[in-house]
Each structure stands twice: as structure tokens, then as C-alpha cells.
Amino acid sequence: MTDEILLPTASPRKMAYDRFVSHRAAVVSVFVLAILVLFVALSPLTARYGVNESVQAPPNSFLPPRANAWLGTDDIGRDLYSRLIYGVRVSLVIGLFSAIISVTIGCLVGAVAGFRGGRFDDIIMRVTDLFLAFPFLVTLLVMRNMLGAIGWLRPVIGELSSVRFIIVLFAIFGWMGVARIVRGQVLALKEREFIEAARAVGATRWYIVRKHLLPNSVGPIMVALTFSVVSAIIGESTLAFFGYGPQAGAGATSLGILVGQAKGAVNTGFWWLAVFPCLVLVTIALAINFIGDALRDATDPRMQKDS
């Protein structure tokens, strides 16, 4: 008597996972990034030289790729390959940490703004709107100098040229975009009946935010996280390009600094100094973007609505 009555259903998490996995580019990106992160994390082992070490005795500058320097050397004879590894490590740290901080702040502000509405929401929206409307680099540079000049902040956020400072800078920049995304999501969820139901059984606002709104916003939040990482990494490289990037001392470098040197390399024909850093940067950006895009598709609430 019992035919197969029900369609085999899957949990939302499994559906999202399946959808993500169907984006081949994103899956490839995950592998590529994983390999990269592994390489970078094991850096003392994977790098061939120290970050400030010359490959050989002079003449050692501007050597094209060769056996003892796989990707060539820079202006003072340092191995580009090793420096790239160390540089990427710094940039990834900057990207990850600033993204985590900005997403945390953004979630809190966005959730409260969306949930409470009213004047708070209005003001936050107006402010972030305006801030985000200005040319990115201009605001970045002005804010950088301003923050760096405030003496009493220095113990907290570090020197102007430190990695910590850059992380804080991008965190301050990034939370606004995240707040808007989270606010949008909360606004959409607020009207759904399960929220009303929770209210009807006496849940406090904080409880609703914690247990209902935020878990249901995991999708957009993860997407916001990936895009924050990417924009911080690219932002850092933009700053470094103009010489405003992190100077972590003793020849330490970041991906941005290495890409910045590419500009000089163009005219002089030392193509490896331009091509390899740019390639790495673009690969990382592409990979993270693919993942973010696939995440967005996988967690799109529209797809989860039944017909």
C-alpha cells in the first residue's frame, strides 16, 4: 500500500552544499586557495631563502628566473619566489583579520539597525551611504593619515606603518558594507512569520537576534566575509602601490609591495618582477571571488522558497 509518497528532501545545509559544489570554478578555487595557504603557512620550509636574503654574492640584482632563483631576483638580489611566499602570508593575514573584525562589527550594527529601525537605522544608513559614495582611495588615504596622527590611539592600533594598523584601517572601512548587507537581510526576515511566532511566545529581542535572525543570515554573512577578505587584500596592495602600505621592518614585504614594484619593472623590461606578483594577486582575487559568488548562489534565499 505504501507507494513512494514524499519527494526525497534534503536539509537546507545539504542543499546549499550541493549547489556550491556544482560551481566547478568555486571548487577549483577552494583547492587552489588551500594549496596556497598551505604553502604560505609552512613558509619557513617552502621558502628557499629568507625574506631579506640575497641569492648569491653580487652581481645579483635583476636576475631573470633561473635555477637558484625560480622567479628571478629583485633590485638587491633577493629571491622573488621566497619573498612572494612571505608577502602573501602578510597579505592573507591582513585580509583575514580585517575581514573578521569588520564582519563582526558589521553584523552587530546591521542587525540592530535592521531590527530596531527608526532613527538609529536612518542615521546609520545615511552615514554609511555617504561614506561608501566617496572615491575609495581618497577616503582610504585620508583616513589612514588621520588615524595615524591621533596620538592616543597609537597603543591600540599600532604605528602607521605596522600590519596591525592596516588591519584596523580596513576593518573600519569594511564594516559598513557588511552592516548594509546584514541590515537588508534582517529587514527581510523581520516580517516573516517565524519571527512573529517567536515574539508571540515571549522571546526577548536579543534572543530573537541571536537565535533566529543571525543563523538565518549565515549565507549573506559568509558572502560578505569572502568579499571583505578580497577587498582588504586588494586594498592593501593598492596602498602599498603608492608606498603607503605596511612596512613591517627588515625587508619584510607584502603582496602589495611586490605588486607595487611591478610598475618600475615595466619600463626596464624585468618582466618577472611584474608578472609573477600580479599573477599571484589576480589568482587569489579570482579564487576568493569565485568562492564568494558560489556561496551567494548556494545560500540565495530566493532559491529556497518553494514554488
Partner: protein, 324 residues
């Protein structure tokens, strides 16, 4: 609708003042104008220093200083640059003109092609052309503009002349060095590469926007109603599909245009294009307050103006927005 416009206009002026005030504070804290002046002019007398402070509104009291600066600004009594006391406006004017040329060319080309590509892709979602447009756009937004700029420079400045013996597209400046007077052809040639670099980004972004917006609209119920009326497919597409899909895109475009004046810094730098970007970088690097403030005012005005235009056009295009 008219009331909405008037209300927004009324808010515009106080906002402008407030934002320039914030900028004023930020620049004072961040670039330390007095120190910069002293650094560039080590032999300045105390009297000259004081004059610099007065003329730029650098009072210890920020509010009073701001109003003093504001007064000088609107009465067109602009202080001169800290380097060699050059006048601000001639420099600013040229920089602005150059950037406006580059910016408008890039925006026109970029938005037009971007929208066309987006529509092209959305009409056959999931199909081959959709996938290729989407991927291309994706790669386009993942490559930071200076990377594509550097690559183009490499190709055209270094290798092209090496392979072909002559330079096809120049990679720096507005004119070749030594050019006097106005020459449209030369100017256009110099603008090609920077425009392409900026346009690539714009095309990528707008192709995706348009595609996503159009796909949204195409799956709406009212599209089904429109078809059930038996009107021509072309009319369905234009009057119902595109008309609705363009609304969010136009608004975003207005905002982007507003920030383009200060948004080409990287590209201008790489191609040594003497626009607002180069002006800003050198002024900022030196902490040249008298050069920086007017520049900022232009940027802020542009952003706020186009913010206003974006809001108004959104309300005009979408009747649901015309609240109160």
C-alpha cells in the same frame, strides 16, 4: 514628487557644509598643514607662518578655523600652494579638465557596453553566451585596475615597439612631451589606453548588474501578465523588462559617476596622466593644505550632487518610492 525634490535639495546644502567640515578636520589632523608648510619653507619667518595660518583658517579652534576657511573659499580668495606660492585654480582647472575627459569617455563607453552585454547575457540565462559574458565580467572585476594597466603598459609601451618598431598607443601623459596647443588626435591617442583600463572595470561591473537585474525582472509575475496580453515580444522586453530592470542600474550609475572625479587615481598614476589623481597624490604627499581643500570641495560636491541625482532619478523611475 516635487516636494521630495525640494526636501532633498534643502538638505543638500547643510550636508555639503557638514561633510566639508569633516574633511577639513581630517586633513588638519592627518596632514598637519602647519608642519608641512614649515618643512617646505624652512626659512619662513614667524610672520609668514602666521599669515599662512590665518589665510587657510588653521585656527586652534576647529570650528572658527573652518568658517574662516569657508569665508575665504566662497569669496574666491583662495590661499596659494605651499610650494612656490603658486595659484591653485590654474592647476586644479587643468587637472579637472583632463580627468573629466578621461572619466566621461570611460563611463560612456563602459556603461553602454556593459549594459548591452548584460542584456545579451540575460536573454538566454544559463546558455553559452550567458556563461561567457558572466565569466569574462567576473575576471574583469577580479583584476584590479592597476594590474590591467600595468599589463597594457607592458604590451604597448615595451613590447609593441620592440616587436613592431613603432608606438601604437602612447602610455603616458596627455600629449607627447613638447606639444603646444590643442590637438584632438594626439589627445585621443593618449587617452585610449587609460580609457580602456577604466572601461574594462566598468563594463564588467555593469554587465553583471544589468544581467542580474534583468533576470530578476524577467522572472517576475508581471512579465507573465504582459505575455498573456498577447503584445509583441519586443514590447514585452522593452516596455516591461528593460524599463523595470534599468531602475536600480541607473541609480548605481549615477552614484558611480559622482565618484569618478576622484576615482581614477591609480590609472592616472600608472599612465602618468596629469589629472585630479596626480594632483591629489602630490598635494597629499606634501601635505599641501591650500591645494587639497579646493580639490576636496570638488570631490564632495560631485559625490553629493550625484547622490541627489541618483535619489531623484530613482524616485522618478519607480513610483513606489515617492513616499511622503
Amino acid at each position: 514628487m516635487l516636494r521630495y525634490v525640494i526636501r532633498r535639495l534643502a538638505w543638500a546644502v547643510p550636508t555639503l557644509l557638514f561633510v566639508t567640515f569633516l574633511v577639513y578636520i581630517a586633513l588638519r589632523i592627518g596632514t598637519n598643514p602647519v608642519e608641512s608648510y614649515k618643512r617646505i619653507n624652512p626659512r619662513a619667518t614667524p610672520a609668514k607662518i602666521q599669515q599662512y595660518i590665518d589665510v587657510n583658517g588653521l585656527d586652534p579652534n576647529y570650528v572658527r578655523g573652518y568658517f574662516r576657511w569657508l569665508f575665504n573659499f566662497v569669496t574666491l580668495d583662495w590661499p596659494r600652494s605651499i610650494k612656490g606660492s603658486r595659484e591653485v585654480w590654474p592647476q586644479l582647472k587643468d587637472a579637472l579638465a583632463n580627468t573629466l575627459r578621461l572619466g566621461s569617455a570611460a563611463v560612456v563607453v563602459g556603461v553602454t557596453f556593459g549594459l548591452l552585454l548584460g542584456v545579451y547575457a540575460a536573454l538566454q540565462p544559463g546558455g553559452r553566451r550567458d556563461v561567457s559574458v558572466n565569466t569574462a565580467a567576473f575576471v574583469g572585476i577580479s583584476i584590479p585596475p592597476y594590474v590591467s594597466a600595468i599589463i597594457l603598459q607592458l604590451v604597448f609601451a615595451v613590447y609593441w615597439s620592440r616587436w613592431f618598431g613603432s608606438t601604437l598607443f602612447p602610455t603616458s601623459g596627455v600629449y607627447p612631451p613638447g606639444q603646444e596647443g590643442f590637438n584632438l588626435g594626439l589627445m585621443a591617442k593618449h587617452m585610449v589606453l587609460p580609457t580602456v583600463v577604466v572601461a574594462i572595470q566598468i563594463i564588467a561591473v555593469y554587465a553583471r548588474y544589468m544581467r542580474s537585474s534583468l533576470l530578476d525582472v524577467l522572472s517576475s509575475e508581471y512579465m507573465r501578465t504582459a505575455r498573456s496580453k498577447g503584445i509583441s515580444e519586443r514590447r514585452v522586453l522593452f516596455k516591461h523588462g528593460l524599463r523595470n530592470a534599468l531602475i536600480p542600474v541607473v541609480t548605481i550609475a549615477a552614484l558611480d559617476v559622482g565618484s569618478i572625479v576622484g576615482g581614477l587615481i591609480i590609472t592616472e598614476n600608472i599612465f602618468s596622466y596629469p589629472g585630479m589623481g596626480k594632483y591629489f597624490l602630490s598635494a597629499f604627499g606634501e601635505g599641501d593644505f591650500p591645494l587639497l581643500m579646493p580639490w576636496m570641495v570638488i570631490i564632495v560636491t560631485s559625490v553629493l550632487l550625484f547622490n541627489l541625482i541618483a535619489d531623484i532619478s530613482y524616485a522618478w523611475l519607480d513610483p513606489r518610492i515617492r513616499l511622503d
